[in-house]
């Protein structure tokens, strides 16, 4: 075959264009989060997405892990498509400190010049990434729910919700390099594994005189509700239609399977199935989840008040004329107990 046309491509020009758009190496990094030695599962969709984008741009995907005793967490990153994992494993990094973590990451990024850094908009990501941006003098596209790669200009367009109910979307681009992006947990769908060979690069940690200033007061927790209900992304609520405590246990189970929080109506409270801090409505809490599933709830006005900010409402009830069934985006007509247990079965497969 004749490959002589390849000589016609001016070499420096191609190289220069690459440098200009992707800032040198230009790889895509994914910041992993490790809890008790295991990788946080929400990170995997980011790796899959990074793999897709890297294939479009012909660059590599690097996973970055920071902490102490975290080597085992790297395996999963390779399984989902990371070409290499940068491992900053040091006893000094055992405890999260904004100062030290920023220092390690900023040094790594300055040395290796990635084009894009993806992180989870978790408690850690949403305070660490802006610090990095300030240190590196670049910008963050925050809290994205979708990422698209413009393969011509090689820019990452992040879409994030704005407005009180989050129903307007902005698409934004970070013009400086590296492009820092935080992604809302559970916003991206899980892709398929794309296993690579393990290539762990241990990074020397040199903290110099950087010291953390935060004192974590042990594991001391202050009267903890499991999660703060108004902030939950998924809320599953049950009402009188669940009939008895056994029926309500199904609601709890569905919430567990979906990774959401359980709540209830006044009827559920009076029956003793929930406590007062899980009551939704005028007398209780107002929730604003992404997905709200109402099981056996007719939807009196004082309950509807509590869910007016919910993005997507699913109602399961036997009465198709109930107010909540009219209000919902998807109304499932049928016996709530039967449908909920079918849902649990379907989801646990």
């Amino acid at each position: 075959m004749d490959f002589s046309y390849l000589d016609l491509i001016p070499e420096d020009e191609a190289g220069a264009a690459e440098d200009e758009t992707m800032g040198g190496a230009g790889n895509i990094w994914v910041l992993g989060e490790v809890k008790d030695g295991d990788l946080r599962p929400d990170v995997l969709p980011l790796v899959c997405k990074a793999r897709d984008m890297a294939d479009t741009l012909s660059v590599a995907v690097f996973g970055v892990l920071i902490g102490s005793g975290i080597r085992n967490a790297a395996g999963e990153l390779f399984h989902y498509g990371a070409d290499r994992v940068l491992l900053a494993d040091d006893p000094a990094l055992a405890e999260y400190q904004p100062e030290t973590y920023t220092r390690v990451l900023a040094d790594l990024i300055s040395a290796q010049q990635p084009g894009i850094v993806l992180a989870l908009a978790s408690e850690l990501g949403s305070e660490l990434v802006p610090r990095l941006a300030q240190k590196l003098d670049t910008g963050v596209v925050p809290y994205c729910t979708d990422l698209t790669m413009d393969s011509v200009s090689r820019r990452l367009v992040g879409t994030y919700p704005v407005g009180d109910a989050g129903d307007i979307l902005y698409a934004a681009v970070c013009e400086a390099r590296p492009q820092l992006v935080t992604v809302r947990p559970r916003a991206l769908s899980q892709g398929f594994p794309s296993p690579r060979e393990e290539a762990i690069e241990e990074v020397a940690v040199d903290l110099d005189d950087t010291q953390g200033r935060i004192t974590w007061l042990g594991q001391a927790t202050v009267e903890v509700p499991e999660a703060w209900l108004p902030e939950a992304a998924v809320v599953v609520a049950g009402g009188r239609g669940m009939e008895d405590a056994e029926g309500f246990a199904l609601v709890r189970q569905l919430a567990d399977v979906l990774g959401g929080e359980v709540a209830g109506t006044r009827a559920a409270l009076e029956a003793g199935w929930i406590t007062e801090e899980r009551l939704i409505g005028v007398a209780g809490l107002t929730v604003r989840p992404y997905l709200y599933i109402a099981c056996g709830i007719s939807g009196a006005d004082h309950h509807l008040y509590g869910i007016q900010d919910a993005r997507f409402i699913v109602a399961i009830d036997s009465n198709p004329d109930a107010p909540l069934m009219k209000h919902a985006h998807i109304a499932v007509v049928g016996d709530a107990r039967a449908v909920v247990s079918a849902l649990i079965q379907e989801l646990s497969q």
């Binding site: 408690e123 610090r131 925050p142 919700p161 899980q190 049928g334």
Partner: protein
């Protein structure tokens, strides 16, 4: 102890109607209100003032209308208010805002504690606090639900891994509060009148802060106009429970509400 609260104004969501089906936003009543998260931040500061001797200063970046928010802050019990406003900064992004807040805090004479809200404008963002912590070289605690100061150390209850955890940080420190972490107090009528009649809001422009228009160039730029999620269409599913469950999950996946 000097506490500085960074505040902003946002468009009142009650006056805005979003129609996903025709992809338009109708602003029926253009009214700007004190950003709700920033009210929570101010409340944390005011609660500190209730327990220890503290001077609370409100600083706001934004256009001239932001003065109303500062007057409200004065009515609620702030000791002084500064407005950072400049024509050149209209398109400023969060990095530029952070730079002007930091410059203002320096000009005021530093702060022991800076408290910020979790949002910038309408986006869930929370960048102001961490950026300020770097610029001011201060300790940083985010997702704060409550805070107290004892002997030059701030002790805060924060969310971490879905639990409340108590942390301590030395002053100076930057706190970012969690939205809805407290119920903000209301000003009295007399205090509101006083805020407009007697108290002053100091306005500073870029020159006063020693910044140039170059510092306000945004790095993150919006692409195109507003976009909208797929309009949700009402759907009624009936029939056998197992079948209904299957088609419900199918619809949720199609609407991108469920990802598995």
């Amino acid at each position: 102890m000097r506490v500085i609260v960074a505040i902003q104004q946002v468009l009142d969501p009650a006056g805005v109607l979003v129609r996903r089906d025709i992809e338009r936003v109708f602003v029926n009543r253009e009214e700007y209100i004190f950003a709700p998260g920033d009210l929570n931040a101010l409340e944390v500061a005011l609660q500190l003032k209730d327990s220890v001797a503290a001077e609370i200063i409100a600083v706001a970046a934004g256009s001239a209308r932001t003065e109303d928010a500062l007057r409200e802050a004065l009515a609620l019990g702030c000791d002084a208010a500064y407005l950072l406003s400049d024509e050149a900064c209209i398109k400023a992004d969060v990095a530029a805002h952070a730079r002007s807040y930091a410059a203002a805090i320096d000009k005021i004479g530093g702060a022991d504690l800076v408290i910020a809200g979790p949002r910038v404008g309408h986006a869930i963002d929370g960048q102001i606090g961490p950026r300020l912590a770097v610029l001011l070289d201060a300790a940083q605690v985010t997702d704060v639900y409550s805070a107290t100061v004892i002997d030059g150390v701030v002790r805060a209850a924060r969310a971490w891994d879905g639990r409340y955890v108590t942390v301590e940080a030395p002053l100076p420190a930057v706190l970012v509060v969690a939205e809805g972490c407290n119920i903000p107090r209301l000003p009295t009528g007399a205090a509101c009148m006083n805020a407009y009649r007697e108290q002053q809001v100091t306005a500073w422009n870029l020159e006063d802060l020693g910044l140039s228009a170059q510092d306000c160039m945004p790095v993150v730029k919006q692409e195109g106009g507003d976009r909208f999620g797929r309009p949700f269409e009402k759907e009624v599913i009936s029939g056998d429970a197992a079948e209904a469950a299957k088609s419900l999950l199918g619809s949720l996946r199609y609407q991108k509400v469920l990802h598995r």
